[in-house]
Every structure is written in C-alpha cells, then in structure tokens.
C-alpha cells in the first residue's frame, strides 16, 4: 500500500514536470526572439531614429514615416472594421435566427479567417486600388487590413455578447425596453471587455502584416508624411522587409532597430488594450 502510493507520487511528479516543461517551451521562443531583437536593435534606437526621415538610400536617418504610416493604417483599419465587425456580431448574436443564411454567414467568417494574408493583398489590389480607383493609397490599404481583421472582431465579439446571461435581456424587455434598448443599455456594456479584446487582437495582427499592404499602399521609399487618405505611405512591416532583402549593404543594426520599433509598437498597443479591458472588467458585475 505504502509503496503504491509513493510510486503514484513519483509518477505525478514526473507528469507535473513534463507539463511545466511544455509551458516553459512556450515562453522560451518569445524570450529568445524579443531578447535577440532588443540586444541587437537597442543600439539603433534614439530620438533621431524614431523621429526623422530616412536618408542615404535608407541606410541612415530614421523611420519616422514608417511609424506614422503603420499607425495611420491601423487607425484606418479600426475605423472601418469596428462598426462592421461589432455590428455583424450584434446581428449574429442578438437578432439572427438559425437559418441557412446565418449558417452561410458563419461559414464565410470561419473561412475568411483562414485565408492567407497575401490573398487579401491581391483582393485589395483588385477591389480597392483598381476597381474602385482608390489607387495605391492609405484608404485602400486600411480597407484591406480591415477586411482581414473582420473575422477576428466578429467571432470574438459574438462570443462576448453570448456570454452575457440571457436573463438580462428578459429583464430589460419586461421593463418595457425594446430589444435594441436592452442591447444598448445592458448587453453591450457587459460585453465590452471581450469586444475590446477582440478588436485589439485583430488590429495587432493587421498592424504587423506585410502582404496585405504590399500591393495596396506601401511605398518603398517615401521620405515625407502622407497628406491625404489617397497618398501612399511607408509602413514598418514593409519597411523592415525592404531593408532586410532589397537594399544591399544595409547596416544590421538598422534592421534590428526597425524590428524593435515594430515590436514595441505592437506590444505597447497590447498593453493599452489590457489596461482598457481590465478597467471595464472591474465594472462588470455578474
């Protein structure tokens, strides 16, 4: 008896050990990637690098237009994707009945999420740049990124809305509220943390993408800030691709510096999202 239980104890210890190892293996790559980029790139980061135009065929100067471009593209994608994404999620969660149409919509969403990003790029080129004559522009690039973000925003928002107990809707209705008043006053505020999470996750992905902006907006070298939504712009991910593969004799430190700037931008957006989310979550009460 004693022996069996001590053997079980050992087996359990080994089991736990394996699980801990598995968890550590997830942490390891991110530490290595982030660590390597910081080590090799931090030397390039200074005020001038972050706030001036590139010079000497991008080998010197800064990455300011690429930073601004990425922020503008992400903002543009947010403006386009949030109303449609959240609206679609509200429809699917609150109004849609289970019909062939809603099943088709759900199928489309799942499939949209699985489409490779370069295909979105080509789609954006065809629809926005050529057919709608937006040209290679921030508008075309933002909309392309927005479409790519939609499935993430819709599915996470829908999940967040469904997590709000049905009874809240019933209570609101019993007090003379219309369906929309219940959604607007009770359900949406309760689902907000989840929706924000989905939006940020989607936008983070969009902000770091290269392929969708490749044909729709990104400029190889454009050392000035965009003046209108119909301008091209540089963007961090594409800039990183360019200086890593297209410019001979590029100082390695500049490449890593650019990678670090992109990473910092994305991660800081992530932190902002987490703060917003926890603020709203503290106000939630069920």
């Amino acid at each position: 008896m004693q022996e069996i239980s001590s053997r079980r104890y050992v087996v359990q210890r080994i089991g736990f050990g394996v699980l801990v190892l598995a968890a550590l293996l997830v942490v390891l790559p991110i530490l290595l990637v982030v660590g390597a980029i910081i080590l090799k790139g931090i030397g390039a980061i200074n005020w001038e690098f972050l706030t001036t135009m590139p010079r000497d065929g991008m080998k010197a100067g800064g990455i300011f237009p690429a930073i601004v471009g990425t922020l503008l593209l992400t903002l543009g994608a947010a403006l386009a994707a949030i109303p449609f994404g959240v609206g679609g999620a509200i429809y699917l969660s609150e109004y849609a009945r289970d019909t062939w149409l809603t099943r088709a919509i759900r199928l489309a969403i799942v499939n949209l999420a699985g489409i490779p990003s370069v295909v979105y790029g080509l789609f954006g080129l065809g629809l926005f740049v050529l057919f709608l004559r937006f040209g290679t522009s921030i508008l075309a690039g933002s909309l392309t990124l927005a479409i790519m973000t939609l499935p993430i925003i819709i599915s996470t928002s829908e999940e967040a809305l469904r997590a709000v107990p049905m009874e809240f809707r019933t209570v609101s209705a019993s007090l003379g509220g219309t369906r929309w008043q219940g959604i607007r006053n009770i359900v949406l505020p309760q689902a907000l943390p989840g929706i924000i999470t989905g939006v940020i996750l989607g936008l983070l992905r969009a902000g770091g993408e290269t392929a969708p902006i490749l044909f729709t907006v990104a400029a190889f070298f454009l050392p000035r800030l965009p003046q209108s939504p119909f301008d091209q712009t540089m963007a961090l991910p594409y800039h990183l691709y360019v200086i890593s593969t297209q410019v001979p004799g590029m100082p390695l430190q500049v490449q890593y510096g650019t990678a670090l700037a992109l990473l910092a931008l994305v991660l800081s957006l992530n932190v902002v999202a987490t703060v917003i989310r926890s603020y709203f979550r503290r106000r939630r009460q069920w």
Binding site: S174, Q190, R284, Q285
Partner: protein, 256 residues
C-alpha cells in the same frame, strides 16, 4: 368552479400553448380580479410560469411556439395586431424567481424602466425612486446607499429591489414568478407583507413557491396540473374544501 367573474382585470380565454410541438397549456380559461392576489399553484411543469409570461408577452422572445385563445387585459386582446408591446409590459410588470439586479446602482435599477419610458425630469425621478422603494419595503434599508452597486445588496434586498424596479413603472398588474424561492424566511415574510400593501393598488398574480405560501397570500387560487387548470375558487376555500380529488391530494401533500 369559478372561472368567470364580473369586470375581470385579466380574462384568459381558451388559451392553449405549445412549444416545439409539445403542449404546455391546454385550454385554460380563467378570470383574474382587480386589486387582489391571485395565486397560480401546482407542481412543477404545470404551465404556471408560462401562463404568466404569456400575459405580458415575454414569451415572444422564444421561438417555435404556438398560441391559441385570447388573453384580455381590460377587455383588450394583448395579442391583437398593433399592440404596443413595450407599453403592455409597462402596464404588466414582472418579477422573476431569481433576483437579477441590472448592472449599476440601486437608483439606476429603479429608474431603468421609467428612463426608457422617457422620464427625464430629475425631481420626478427622485419621487419614483422613493415611492417604489417604499412600496417594496426596501427604502429604510437602502436610503443611504442609493448610489451604491445594486449587486452589493443581500439576496432578499435584491428581490425587493426587483419588485421596486417593476413598481417604478406604476404597472396595473404585477406578475410574480416564485419571487421568494431563493430567499430566507425573514426576507420571504417581508416580501409577502409588501404584497398585502400592494394589492390595494395593483392586480397581483403570484406563482408561489409552496402551497403554504399560496394559502398565506392568495385571495383567490387556481390549481394547475400538467398544463391544465384543474380548479379555481374564490377565496381560500380551495385550500380547505377542494372540489377536485387531484387538488385535494396536492393541497394535503399527497404529491407535489
């Protein structure tokens, strides 16, 4: 068996109701008098709650249902086309088995309905808060924490808040679906006491959580069994001299 009275507040006529093809209510006919407490009692699954939710059309939210018959409120069919459902629900308030405060403060909970109904005036709102909480016998306990979170109240207080929330709309009818099922005896007594006050002004239908509660609070009581109205008698006679064998068995505790 009494099913028709003069000038009923609510007249339920040959109501049958099916959900996904399964019959939940079978040809129910009864009149509910004004300014009294009417209890719908009987074992679980008898269709009492469903009938309540048909009166204020809350079951409209459910899909796959089939209703025949009529429910008249002051002689008007509540299922008539063109009925303003929001207004109907303001006239027929409802309190649920589980108290569910809405997110927000005590005050916000009470004012949720009136605000949706367009009440913007601050002093009127204040009056509504005081009157509703008084009527629900909650005022003394929460008057100093009106702007505190409603979720911080005790279960019994939350249920009385839910009653106050319904009363804020000055409904004509109050539907109570096992309002004390989750409450301790003291809170239950408080809720029952407030019902005695409320019936002066409101028509109350309660699905009690026990026969004892039905006997305590009801002016009239209807016994439901498996979707059918078995017996309906004015006053408390149904508890002492039931006509139907099944009612007698249930009231005396032989099944239930």
């Amino acid at each position: 068996m009494l099913t028709e009275i003069a000038n009923p507040k609510i007249r339920i006529e040959h109501v049958s109701y099916a959900y996904d093809g399964e019959e939940v209510l079978r040809d129910v006919t009864l009149d509910v008098p004004a300014n009294a407490v009417t209890a719908f009692f009987g074992p679980a699954g008898g269709g009492k709650t469903t009938l309540l939710r048909l009166i204020n059309r809350l079951n409209d939210l459910v899909e796959g249902t089939h209703l025949t018959g009529q429910i008249l409120l002051d002689g008007q069919d509540v299922y008539a086309t063109g009925t303003n459902i929001a207004r109907l629900r303001r006239r027929v308030g409802m309190v649920f088995a589980l108290p569910l405060p809405l997110p927000g403060t005590v005050r916000e909970n009470v004012l949720y309905g009136p605000r949706l109904a367009g009440e913007r005036d601050r002093s009127r709102q204040e009056e509504i808060v005081v009157r509703s909480l008084r009527q629900a016998a909650l005022w003394d306990e929460v008057k100093d924490r009106l702007d505190g979170p409603a979720s911080a109240l005790s279960g019994g207080q939350q249920q009385r808040l839910c009653i106050a929330r319904s009363l804020a709309l000055e409904p004509e009818v109050l539907l109570l679906d096992e309002p004390t099922s989750g409450l301790d005896p003291i809170s239950t007594a408080k809720v029952e006491e407030s019902l005695l006050e409320l019936k002066q002004h409101y028509t109350i239908i309660i699905v009690p959580h026990s026969v004892q509660q039905a006997a305590r609070v009801a002016d009239h009581a209807a016994f439901f069994l498996m979707g059918a109205l078995i017996e309906y008698q004015p006053g408390k006679r149904i508890f002492t001299t039931p006509h139907d064998k099944r009612t007698e068995d249930y009231v005396t505790g032989r099944f239930g």
